[in-house]
């Protein structure tokens, strides 16, 4: 066994290393400084620098289509793009964290440490093509997150959210692992690249392998909150501090979906029509459950959580398409593009909520937005843009995301799924409109908690601009992603 680790491996994995090292900087400073927390701003800058460098390195080396560490990690287009989305949305989450009342400032370096390592876990998760490495990445990502959730200033709901997330997440991990063991048993490999060659035949011949695949798929379904495995999502999203919710809805979701995409891309579903059927039903169920449940919510964060479930359903359509299509680059691009879209608009929407929250116990209801447009016209406009984008209305990014996604579904003949998605979009419009109604059409005096939330404001406005501008010129971006994915 002659296995050596070369410079290439180090270069490619450098984003992860950088993240880990940067995560240690504030902590080390704190320890050296007699355990006194330095200014959060410095920590923030360090973290953002780390994320920035990681992103730069990822762009530099990421999309080179190389496997490193003996086929453990694959740095291809998906890694690059999903990684970038995860890093950027994580950065946005950190920015929100910096200005949210639920953030324990006395432990800001610890939170940042956990967050950066969570991102490192995501990068592993995204790039891993070995199921066990996938698992390690998943756990690194999730365990940090559980701790972050539990560390909120708010004591009641965040703890509940953390324990729920933890217990259910652990079940999902166990299920995932059990599936991996079956796959390992049936094919003697857990490497997706190798699996790809045998998957389609094995799945027909070997029920154990089929079970393994289902367990793995359901493990992922849990992570990306596909109904009926979504039940944790609304509770955890609501209970967690808003910046962390943003983090979950964007970075975590992107990374999980990216890893899920790798499973789907093995074409393993094609072997079992029943599996494809049931996955389609899951997609339908997810969209419907997410949207109808969001209809009756009053808590805005919970509404957005259910909407996140619904969006998972839309993305799941794309995922199924990837699993079915012979040339999956287009469908995969549609999924990645939608992930990007969803990440940006979620960040923006949660960002606004985060800015409105006055204390760690404060939560924003739909009616609680009344009069926001008068007090903060720019932010209200941004929020409107996010909501419109989430509803999938042109000419903003969300529309194009849906266009590409449903386009992919239609081209694979999954017209009824697309139809269902569209029906759901109609339901969704209702609850996306309600905050707009509140902000613009009802009298009230909702305002942001503090007018000096510069970082969040910049971030939110940047997201809005991104959604509008990239929305109008989404073609080149799509082509770019597709080129690097194929």
């Amino acid at each position: 066994m002659n296995i050596s680790i070369g410079l290439a491996d180090i270069l490619l994995i450098s984003p992860v290393i950088v993240l880990f090292l940067f995560s240690l900087i504030p902590l080390t400073t704190k320890v050296l400084n007699k355990n006194v927390e330095q200014s959060p701003a410095t920590t923030l800058v360090v973290a953002l620098m780390g994320l920035g460098i990681a992103a730069g390195l990822l762009i530099l080396f990421g999309g080179s289509d190389q496997t490193i560490f003996n086929g453990q990690l694959l740095f291809d287009g998906l890694t690059k793009w999903a990684g970038l989305i995860a890093i950027v949305s994580a950065a946005a989450g950190i920015v929100l964290l910096y200005e949210n009342p639920s953030t324990p400032y006395r432990q800001f370096s610890e939170i940042i440490f956990l967050a950066l390592n969570s991102v490192a876990g995501m990068l592993i998760l995204i790039s891993a093509i070995n199921l066990i490495t996938v698992f390690i990445g998943l756990e690194l990502m999730s365990l940090s997150l559980y701790l972050m959730t539990a560390m909120s200033q708010e004591q009641k709901l965040s703890k509940e959210a953390a324990i729920k997330y933890f217990v259910l997440g652990s079940i999902a991990s166990a299920i995932f692992l059990y599936g991996v063991s079956f796959i390992f048993g049936s094919t003697n490999t857990v490497n997706t690249a190798e699996l790809m060659q045998v998957a389609a035949q094995t799945i027909q011949a070997d029920k154990l392998f089929l079970f393994g695949i289902i367990f793995v798929v359901i493990g992922f379904c849990f992570k990306v909150s596909i109904a009926p495995f979504h039940a944790w999502t609304p509770d955890v999203y609501q209970g967690a501090p808003t910046p962390i919710t943003a983090f979950m809805a964007t970075a975590i979701k992107t990374a999980s979906f990216a890893a899920f995409l790798r499973i789907a891309a093995t074409q393993v579903f094609q072997g079992s029509q029943n599996l494809v059927d049931v996955l389609q039903w899951l997609a339908v169920l997810t969209m419907t459950v997410g949207n109808v449940a969001a209809l009756v919510q009053t808590n805005l964060k919970r509404t957005l959580a259910y909407s996140s479930v619904a969006h998972s359903g839309y993305i799941f359509i794309g995922l199924i398409t990837v699993g079915l299509s012979a040339n999956s680059a287009y469908s995969a691009t549609a999924v990645v593009f939608y992930l990007l879209t969803y990440a940006v608009m979620s960040i923006g929407a949660f960002g606004i909520l985060s800015m409105i929250e006055k204390s760690e116990n404060d939560f924003v209801t739909v009616d609680g937005l009344a009069g926001f447009a008068k007090k903060q016209p720019a932010l209200a406009l941004c929020f409107t843009i996010f909501l419109i984008s989430m509803a999938g209305l042109p000419p903003v990014l969300g529309f194009f995301g849906k266009l590409y996604l449903f386009g992919a579904a239609v081209s694979e003949g999954l017209i009824w799924l697309a139809l269902w998605g569209i029906l759901n979009s109609v339901i969704a419009v209702y609850y996306y409109l309600r905050p707009i109604v509140s902000m613009y059409m009802k009298p009230g005096d909702t305002d942001v908690s503090d007018n000096r939330l510069y970082a969040s404001t910049i971030m939110v406005i940047a997201s809005a601009i991104f959604i509008v501008v990239v929305g109008l010129f989404s073609g080149p971006l799509f082509t770019m992603i597709e080129r690097s994915l194929s």
């Binding site: 059990y178 048993g185 003697n188 919510q297």
Partner: protein, 108 residues
């Protein structure tokens, strides 16, 4: 013949069935027990079941990679236990309770 072979010749399936039973027992524990610590223990049961499965397959496939996985799983299980217990402890500190019944504020 079948009887004897099933009892006397221990094959892969025996281990797998054992693992499956342990897994479902763990699942049952999570579903039924209200004490968070016991729930955590049930999760450990599930992970152990997975480990049995891995090792059995490892032997069947004569692939030591299975054992590596078990090693990883064990480590992570330990880490999970640590995190879980830490969260439980912090919850206990706040609520003086570790019964799931008390954590139903987030709903609807």
């Amino acid at each position: 013949m079948l009887e004897t072979s099933m009892f006397s010749e221990i094959g892969l399936n025996h281990y797998l069935v054992l693992s499956a039973l342990l897994f479902t027992i763990g699942m049952a524990g999570i579903l039924l027990r209200r004490n968070l610590i016991v729930v955590l223990m049930s999760i450990e049961l599930m992970l152990n079941a997975v480990n049995i499965s891995f090792v059995a397959f490892s032997k069947y496939n004569m692939n030591s990679e299975g054992q590596v996985m078990v090693f990883f799983v064990m480590t992570i299980a330990a880490a999970e236990a640590a995190v879980g217990l830490a969260i439980i402890v912090s919850i206990f500190k706040r609520f003086k309770e570790v019964n799931i019944r008390f954590f139903e504020h987030l709903k609807g």
